[in-house]
């Protein structure tokens, strides 16, 4: 990956060197940003959340380095596409190559797959590390989830270890609470209720690693726990998907099958009319996280040096409202909630496959305390409740 004999600085390598980095040609805005200033480092910038977060990080005027897994030129194209789909992304698109430096890493390799001196130099200059990358497919192979989400986090902690000035901002998920019901506080982290899928389990383990690391090193860490991140804006081709867009696509494929078979169908999901989901617009979530990241880390919080925020909507969305929008996206399909467990039939299994694990959430009645989030983002207006029209647009995206 890295060729010895190249210039020592990771930031002075020519375009296409194959070293895993892009040396961007100078541009009026931001040229020189990377020469000496401290850095904001982000993993997962090409993803749904990362691409919404990045314009906020760039607004700090500090140089940003994105750790990516693709060849940097390919990653730059993906990043540009992803940013173009975000509300604030257009403003940074033209100057993107001069604003963001892309460094190719292997998230699960020692030192992120970087040579010692490169890793060291990156770490020395880093002021913030935003760890956003994750494998987010809920029903992926547990070993793969563990590899990316667990080992990946371990390697990011290794970078943080080498970066004594850096504050780590770790993106977890509200659903590290697994199958718990009732109110979950921002400092809670227990696995006694089990998990609805291997993704949740892997994120739970990753958050535990982060907390243990923070306590053992006495280092300030900010943990963000977003709920389900969504948007009602249309999704251009080849841009990151959000969970409702994945669901919508699965439903449309199912609709094609039902149409081909010329039949209507009913799916019965275990759940009750009182079930709720917490869906939060990504635009708000990214702004809230950036606001918290821009303020100094809390010095003393109940849970040692870790401050955790449930980045969630003030209002839960009733599951029946989501199901209604889903039926709309899949004509011919009616979805019913039934209390208790039952044996799944062939259609239920097909539905589970098409909806990538969503069905397990139809019985959720968990609520997330957001006291710390509210206090830290007082100037931000919380988003409006999620309406049926919003859901239909989000599923169409």
């Amino acid at each position: 990956m890295y060729r010895p004999g190249r210039p020592r600085s990771p930031f002075r390598i020519p375009v296409g060197s194959g070293s895993g980095q892009v040396r961007f040609r100078s541009a009026p805005v931001g040229s020189g940003r990377h020469e000496e200033a401290s850095l904001i480092v982000i993993t997962g910038a090409t993803g749904f959340l990362g691409s919404h977060l990045l314009p906020h990080l760039l607004a700090t005027d500090e140089p940003v380095t994105a750790l990516v897994r693709d060849d940097p030129r390919l990653a730059l194209r993906r990043l540009a596409r992803a940013l173009a789909a975000t509300p604030a992304g257009h403003e940074v698109l033209d100057a993107l190559p001069s604003l963001v430096r892309l460094v190719r890493v292997d998230l699960s390799a020692p030192r992120l797959g970087l040579p010692g001196p490169v890793h060291h130099e990156l770490a020395e200059r880093t002021r913030q590390i935003w760890h956003c990358a994750a494998l987010t497919a809920m029903t992926a192979e547990p070993s793969l989830l563990h590899h990316v989400n667990g080992e990946g986090t371990r390697r990011v902690l290794e970078l943080a270890d080498a970066a004594p000035r850096a504050r780590l901002l770790h993106v977890s998920t509200a659903y590290v609470c697994g199958a718990r019901q009732g109110l979950v506080h921002e400092d809670d982290l227990d696995d006694t209720a089990g998990f609805l899928n291997p993704y949740e389990a892997s994120k739970h383990r990753a958050e535990r690693l982060v907390r243990r690391w923070a306590r053992s090193r006495g280092r300030a860490v900010t943990v963000f726990r977003p709920s389900v991140l969504v948007t009602d804006r249309p999704r251009p081709p080849r841009t990151p998907r959000h969970p409702l867009s994945v669901l919508g696509r699965g439903l449309r494929l199912l609709a094609e099958e039902l149409e081909a078979a010329d039949r209507a169908a009913t799916v019965r999901l275990p759940g009750s009319p009182g079930s709720t989901a917490n869906l939060v617009p990504v635009e708000y979530a990214a702004r809230a996280m950036a606001t918290i990241g821009a303020a100094p880390a809390l010095a003393t919080v109940p849970d040692g040096p870790v401050s955790t925020y449930h980045v969630v909507h003030l209002h839960d969305t009733p599951v029946p409202r989501v199901l209604e929008a889903m039926s709309h996206a899949c004509p011919g399909l009616s979805i019913r909630l039934e209390p208790g467990r039952r044996n799944a039939g062939a259609l239920d299994r097909k539905f589970a496959e098409a909806t990538a694990g969503f069905h397990r959430y139809a019985a959720c009645a968990v609520r997330f305390d957001r006291g710390r989030l509210g206090a830290a983002t007082r100037g931000l207006s919380p988003p409006a409740p999620i309406t049926p029209a919003y859901l239909r647009d989000a599923l169409r995206a």
């Binding site: 390919l74 194209r77 596409r81 251009p236 080849r238 696509r249 494929l253 094609e256």
Partner: protein, 80 residues
């Protein structure tokens, strides 16, 4: 390349805004930023419009591999 290859690249252009400059036979769907859900959509369209199955094609497959699969489907089976 074959008609099948042309069919795929035309579709990538029309539906996914993929420019010819981004493509070679060895380009993978993944490298173009397409995921398994996009492939599922392509499979449905090919089935509906041409009666062809795009079995065994993944995001990591190259366009050439996908075209070969389509050619096989057209000729009625996998060559020995």
């Amino acid at each position: 390349m074959t008609d099948a290859y042309q069919l795929i690249t035309d579709y990538l252009h029309d539906r996914f805004d993929v420019s010819p400059a981004e493509i070679t036979e060895h380009t993978t769907f993944d490298a173009l930023g397409l995921d398994s859900l996009d492939l599922a959509e392509i499979a449905v369209i090919l089935r509906k419009a041409h009666g062809l199955e795009l079995d065994g094609v993944r995001a990591a497959s190259t366009l050439r591999e996908a075209a070969c699969r389509l050619d096989e489907a057209r000729s009625g089976g996998t060559p020995a």
